[in-house]
């Protein structure tokens, strides 16, 4: 990372010990900034409302004609509150989660640039590479919070409204509550890790522009276009590498014997997007002229 420092507008490479402390401080400051920003807090609250809303709707209508119906896992929620977590994640995955994560990661660099604070940030005795890493950590932590916001309110609302019992898997096998909880936790972790590629894409767009809205929109568009391409049978050759293709593979944890191969494949694709777009963001950010 040392060549990165030579391009920082400010000189004076500090001694390593101090710099390490500076990096930790930068990360802490970044986390405070990301999690304290009112817009982000509102986004998290909005996401947390999804399972609440879904749970209440299903609770009110559970004796009606549509009880036990619905795509994905919605039909199972009234029987077992644990499925509210999964149904909510399933509902949020195509659009709401990418939107929130796109907003947070697209804002990471471009937001500072548009507010004119990026040049001051570069004064901190931390190389640009590390600065980018701290921004990435901030965006990743926000992504994790977004998934957790859905999952935790889903768990609490589901348990309160419908109770928690033995979990019926997709194969019709019933497993104990403990096993079920573990599987749901694994689903949440997998969904969280599935967002890392999108965070990297957002970070890259964020280094390209000083207009945060542009970076946010571009990130969301990537997720949506990827979802559309995934629907075209003519492109089946490239489906496996698409950013969103493996997102629904979290269902693997609800099968009789989750196939590690499928899960590793999904995570490897995310790692690939993370690597390519992370390095693109790094190349752009460490070579760009920062004027604002």
């Amino acid at each position: 990372m040392s060549p990165a420092d030579s391009h920082a507008p400010l000189p004076a490479p500090a001694e390593p010990a101090r710099r390490r402390g500076a990096f930790a401080r930068t990360v802490r400051a970044e986390l405070r900034l990301v999690l304290g920003r009112r817009r982000n807090v509102v986004l998290l609250i909005g996401l947390a409302l999804v399972p609440l809303l879904l749970g209440v709707v299903l609770y009110v209508t559970q004796s009606g004609a549509f009880a036990g119906q619905g795509p994905g896992f919605i039909g199972r929620v009234t029987g077992n509150g644990l499925f509210l977590v999964i149904a909510s994640l399933f509902l949020c995955l195509p659009f709401l989660l990418p939107l929130c994560i796109g907003i947070a990661s697209g804002d990471a660099i471009a937001g500072e640039a548009s507010a004119g604070t990026l040049r001051y940030l570069l004064v901190v005795p931390v190389g640009r590479g590390r600065l980018l890493v701290s921004k990435a950590i901030g965006a990743l932590v926000f992504a994790a919070c977004a998934v957790l916001a859905v999952a935790l309110t889903g768990l609490v609302a589901g348990a309160a409204l419908f109770g928690v019992g033995d979990v019926t898997l997709l194969s019709g096998t019933t497993v104990s509550v403990g096993d079920g909880l573990l599987r749901v936790a694994a689903v949440v972790v997998y969904v969280g890790l599935s967002m890392t590629g999108l965070v990297a894409v957002g970070l890259f767009f964020s280094t390209l522009t000083e207009v945060p809205v542009g970076a946010m929109a571009a990130t969301v568009v990537v997720a949506i276009v990827s979802g559309v391409l995934d629907q075209l049978p003519q492109l089946s050759a490239i489906h496996g590498g698409l950013l969103t293709h493996h997102w629904l593979d979290f269902a693997e944890f609800l099968r009789l014997e989750p196939d590690p191969g499928v899960l590793v494949q999904g995570l490897a694709v995310q790692a690939a997007w993370l690597l390519v777009f992370g390095s693109l963001a790094w190349a752009r950010f460490t070579t760009a002229d920062v004027s604002s």
């Binding site: 039909g75 399933f90 019709g172 049978p233 196939d259 190349a283 920062v290």
Partner: protein, 429 residues
């Protein structure tokens, strides 16, 4: 973004250009590394040739007949390119056997090699499971949380158990006569196959990462739709790992393919092989009759009538031989059969269920279910599917696919065979 504001950049422009180029090379290298990491296994898989020793068709078939049934678990991919019309709503309905009519489906298979097995058809977020445990079987659809339980009635069950005991004690029922050795059985199978086709063993290939011998059966008939059938047999366990059926229309890809992509030869866990209906699921019981035990007189009659014909139910005739065989059944009202399907919207008594409480709902219903029955029906029912898959011909309705043609005539005959549609139409007269 002018250089005036970036003091560090003004120092050594030449070095900076070089350095920035070097930096932009990093994502390039990353992309190449990713492409290599994802592309290499596929390349290796296609390039690797098996070095298994050559065998003859007779040896191979004998090995298969001799092989112990293997306990295994694995993932199989089924692909159908039958040239059928696109089925509406197949993406929406999740894991459903109807998906097997076209496109690619992934399945998980567990079997103990005896009479217990589970096959699960995977959807993105759904599963359709078929669990067989001796005389009992279940299907479970996660999409509508429905169990169908297939059993034998108690009398048949007792007979089944008796037969199973006999079999495990090594006592074969008298009807089977002398048990042939695997070599004899293989020879019989080969002789039978060679009447209408050539049988050869192709160059060893790799299926699911294992060496396999492809047995290629090429029909000698010129009219049949089937170009060849390739069964790839595992070189170690002699378990068939892949079946491919090639049609005459398409020489590049098989019309029908079912093969393991991943297989482990080890007894699966008990949880995979047992089934009990999950709480809250809707359950339906179906009692399947065991075919009645033939009396010695019937057996004698059947033998006198010659193999094949004696076993045919009344109203069924067979014309043609080998791969050109056409089966014709009379007195079947397909439309009636399909309309009796409970999911069919068409069988609602007119004017009874179709009158809804509110006018708005009524309008909506009529919007989606036109009264003439021609428009799109929101639910995929058997009658709609039948209409979608078949085409109108002067004699009736015709289903024409890459491997099979079926003609349902207006006078209640059904003709089916692996022959071009014209042949069926000629036969129907």
């Amino acid at each position: 973004m002018s250089d005036d504001n970036a003091p560090a950049a003004t120092g050594a422009p030449a070095r900076r250009v070089h350095s920035s180029r070097a930096r932009w090379a990093v994502p390039g290298i990353a992309a190449v590394a990713v492409a290599a990491a994802f592309g290499t296994p596929a390349l290796i898989a296609t390039a690797s040739s098996s070095d298994a020793p050559d065998v003859t068709a007779a040896e191979l078939v004998a090995r298969v007949a001799d092989a112990e049934p293997q306990a295994l678990s694995g993932t199989a991919v089924y692909t159908a390119r039958l040239g059928l019309p696109e089925i509406p709503l197949s993406d929406v309905s999740g894991a459903d056997p109807i998906n097997l009519l076209g496109g690619s489906s992934t399945m998980r298979v567990w079997t103990d090699g005896q009479d217990r097995s589970r096959v699960a058809l995977l959807g993105a977020t759904s599963e359709y499971s078929v669990v067989a445990d001796g005389p009992e079987a279940w299907t479970y659809s996660s999409e509508d949380d429905a169990v169908v339980h297939y059993t034998l009635d108690p009398a048949d069950r007792a007979r089944y158990d008796e037969l199973a005991q006999d079999a495990s004690a090594g006592r074969a029922p008298d009807v089977a006569g002398d048990l042939p050795t695997p070599q004899e059985a293989a020879q019989q199978v080969l002789d039978l196959a060679r009447q209408d086709a050539t049988v050869a063993v192709g160059a060893p290939t790799t299926v699911a990462g294992r060496d396999a011998y492809p047995v290629v059966v090429t029909p000698t008939s010129e009219t049949t739709l089937v170009a060849r059938v390739v069964v790839s047999v595992d070189s170690e366990t002699s378990t068939p790992l892949r079946v491919q059926v090639w049609s005459r229309d398409d020489a590049d890809v098989p019309a029908l393919e079912l093969g393991f992509t991943d297989v482990t030869f080890a007894p699966p866990s008990d949880t995979a092989l047992e089934f009990s209906a999950p709480p809250g699921a809707s359950e339906r019981d179906v009692v399947v009759p065991l075919p009645p035990e033939p009396t010695p007189e019937e057996l004698a009659d059947a033998e006198a009538a010659g193999a094949g014909d004696g076993a045919l139910p009344p109203g069924t005739t067979v014309t043609g031989t080998g791969w050109d065989t056409v089966v014709e059944t009379a007195g079947v009202d397909v439309v009636d059969l399909l309309a009796a399907d409970p999911s069919s919207v068409a069988d609602l008594p007119p004017g009874v269920q179709e009158r809804l409480e509110s006018q708005g709902a009524q309008d909506l219903y009529e919007e989606f279910v036109p009264q003439d029955g021609s428009g799109p029906v929101p639910e995929l029912d058997a009658s709609t599917l039948y209409e979608q898959l078949t085409t109108e011909v002067p004699q009736g309705r015709l289903l024409s696919s890459a491997l099979l043609s079926v003609l349902v005539t207006d006078d209640g005959r059904v003709l089916a065979g692996a022959v071009p549609a014209d042949v069926l139409i000629d036969r129907a007269g």
